[in-house]
Amino acid sequence: MNEWTLIEQLKQGDEAAFRTIVDTWQDMVYNTAIGIVQNAEDAEDIAQEVFVQVYQSVSSFKGDSKFSTWLYRITITKSLDHQRRKKRKKRFALVRSLFGEDSEVVIHPPDFNHPGVALDKKEDATTLFKAINNLPENQRVAFTLHKVEGLSYQEVSEVMKTTVSSVESLMHRAKTNLKKNLADYYKEKE
């Protein structure tokens, strides 16, 4: 069925259309979210939130961009919001533990393993994801969309509402930062 027909049907509250939309785009949404938040449970939660928002605000989708672009934007916004909330909570727990209140121990999450990475590259990918996590937000988003979701620079620029040259620059800076970060990590390890 055509994308636009589905959207029109969803605007009229058609449940079958909504089911088709979820089934068609769930992997894309989940993979983007897991690439950013680096946690399977959180990514699942975000994917649900994204589709709830799609259902509730599909009437505001005017078709100026592709439906997938709109979905990517919602997913990225929700993933980044989620990460900011998590970091805030972590900082708050750390401050509380410093003041002896509740003496809550700050738990560091386990290393992230993306399920789509080939077995022989798992260890390297885990190290890379750790480094990606330290990148500034816009570099992280551009890198994830390009490397994890496989979008072209043109597609990344559409999602991020910027120019292709800006994406090129973001990717260049991201790679430079990652190289430095990884080199420091490996030097420390030896």
Binding site: R19, Y30, N31, A43, H114, P115
Partner: protein, 113 residues
């Protein structure tokens, strides 16, 4: 030197580790869980929505400031009103002062004939 080139190779390997990555997929039955979430949200009563809106820090603080402001205005108005009354009480009109002066008589030391 060898160590430097070793690290460079490891960095390159890590950077290329996402080549050929497959898309991750969520747990099965995502649609059912989305549907459940939607239903739970719809079940939220009107009062819960109002409650959660009012409990937002920005709204709560704004409401508190508004109440304090209104209290301040009312208090100010009351005070300025009562000061007028006090002023009126302290300045009796002319007829009262006349009466007061006419009744100002020393009965105790009155010389009896």
């Amino acid at each position: 030197m060898k160590q430097e080139s070793d690290i460079e190779k490891r960095v390159e390997d890590a950077l290329n580790s996402l080549d050929g990555i497959q898309r991750a997929a969520p747990q099965p039955w995502l649609f059912s869980r989305v549907k459940g979430r939607l239903l739970r949200q719809e079940e939220k009563t009107k009062w819960e929505t109002i409650g959660s809106f009012l409990s937002k820090p920005a709204v709560a603080i704004a409401g508190l400031l508004l109440i304090l402001g209104l209290n301040g205005v009312l208090l100010f108005n009351q005070q300025s009103g009562s000061s007028v009354v006090v002023q009126n009480e302290l300045q009796p009109n002319d007829s009262e002062s006349l009466l007061a002066s006419s009744s100002n008589f020393d009965y105790e030391n009155l010389v009896q004939p």
